[in-house]
Symmetry: C2
Subunit: 358 residues, 2 copies
Amino acid sequence: MPIPLPDPPRTVWAAAGHPPSVRIIDQRQLPWRLVVEELRRVEDVATAIRDMHVRGAGCIGATAAYGMWLAAETGCPPDRASALLRATRPTAANLAWAIDRMQHEGPSLAAAEAIAEEDIAACRAIGRHGMDLFECRRRELGRPDSAPLHILTHCNAGWLAFVAIGSATAPIYASHDAGRPVHVWVDETRPRNQGARLTAWELAQHGVPHTLIADNAGGHLMQRGQIDLVITGADRVTRQGDVANKIGTYLKALAAADSGLPFYVAFPTSTLDPSLLDGRDIPIEERGAEEVSWIDGPDAHGSRHLIRVCPEETRCANPAFDITPARLITQLITEHGACTANEEGLRQILPGGMPPVC
Amino acid sequence: MPIPLPDPPRTVWAAAGHPPSVRIIDQRQLPWRLVVEELRRVEDVATAIRDMHVRGAGCIGATAAYGMWLAAETGCPPDRASALLRATRPTAANLAWAIDRMQHEGPSLAAAEAIAEEDIAACRAIGRHGMDLFECRRRELGRPDSAPLHILTHCNAGWLAFVAIGSATAPIYASHDAGRPVHVWVDETRPRNQGARLTAWELAQHGVPHTLIADNAGGHLMQRGQIDLVITGADRVTRQGDVANKIGTYLKALAAADSGLPFYVAFPTSTLDPSLLDGRDIPIEERGAEEVSWIDGPDAHGSRHLIRVCPEETRCANPAFDITPARLITQLITEHGACTANEEGLRQILPGGMPPVC
């Protein structure tokens, strides 16, 4: 009997029965199948994060938080659970942030639920602040109310990347829901195709007009005036506003700067790493070569196949993130508002200023 | 009985028997199978060019030249043959150049062979001039003779893109053959994956060390100092040195400029379009959406499948080329030598100066 999604849908939640479990959408199956996976041990949670059954800043953080609770429920020592979970994804800031908080507050279900609920609330606030920027851009362009704003996004910073709503998609959904037309250019996002598989699926479910493109196409579309703004999420943001995000983000930021287009990065402040100043100090995860050389999907009859895209002996490299320096970012958008991408800008919007380094 | 390749191998050649034919490597089958296709009518030649059984600047030009000869041999009027062939690929400069020349000189086999032989000679000269630049770069970096120069290339401007040797690959092969170590970062080159399928195959055949990466990864590798120079081919070059090349080239040129790395564009002057000054006036071919949404390759057992990479209803756009403005190009490399990417630079190396506009 397949487990249904909760209503409203979310990417991760707890089932506090006997035995307790953490439930997630297994995102490796999307868009072909919507499968809920039940995780009964913290080791399963670690595998789900490392092997990207779940992925995306907020979703990783919330899943790790529920994992810490599950560990406590199932008698796994908190230090062991923390070490297991921390080792899964080296670039993701939300991972350490959520684990730290669960260790500090104690690994209760209430603490994990609070992290998840705050993630949802932060995304909702990002939607409001981002929509204000979209409306400014619309006025700046003199775009009529009936014509769409053309938005490029890279990877998936949608509700699948958080508990719900998403970061980069939040202003898109908010605009669409408010009757402000938007059209989204969706970067395929090789090698794991989160754009083609997740963002295209999400936008279709929500009824948002969109067009899928190869990652190579964005610069050309900007040169030709077919993109009005770019918005992405973030996996880690430093104190000075440098952004680690999905590999290829930097190339789009360069192109946006070359065409004079706004480049926005949307993230909840749980993604901020106040211990780092320079983005070059963010560790970049190197993932398996097989993510580049193999790809799966259904044939015309719906049968799924895993196929190779290069000669059998070809060596592949697979850095999963890159660094977009703050100088290429027009505004950062957080739950506390939008700001210039630098330390002063962040300090101004953060309640209580820049968080202390632990 | 499969038709063998000539020795030395080339991508296109004539079989002047009864009936006459043009033979090509069907590049859609690579790297899985090396298949020679026999074309008996100019309509088949047009299909082979349009549907990319053959592709790449010099290879398209030579194939069109042989097509004009085949048309004459099979009683197809030259005007009809010319119109058929010209309509196949709107961005490729070599196409019109070769057809013009065959119409001007008369569609003899000798005229087609001359175009093919000149293509080979031009690529060989590009190899010499390009290798000089590689050696300069090696000295500039203080790289020891035993350590490789790390070169990024996009798409396939290899021997498969010409009659033989290639443009961007010519200095790579020349360096490798001269015992000057090189390592090539190969961009996958979505959506048609010419890097993963053709360049990786070519380099492996030639024994050149290489690593396949997603198109998204090049900027990051440049930021981290893992790339020493970038070299690509061109599909059309304007009088002021703007370059139309495979979609995504522009993004790599931006990244090279941002990291202070040389960005070279190698092409025979048959790719030069002296009738255009500004790259923005080059027509950009829009290819079928199915090139983005479907991909083929073998599974682990060697059975080939065509699979979908996105939801069934997803709309896709597929611009096939972009424009790299001359300001981002360090040097143009032609059979007549290397030069600054501007009108004066080109005029200085071209024997007889800039060709007149027809």
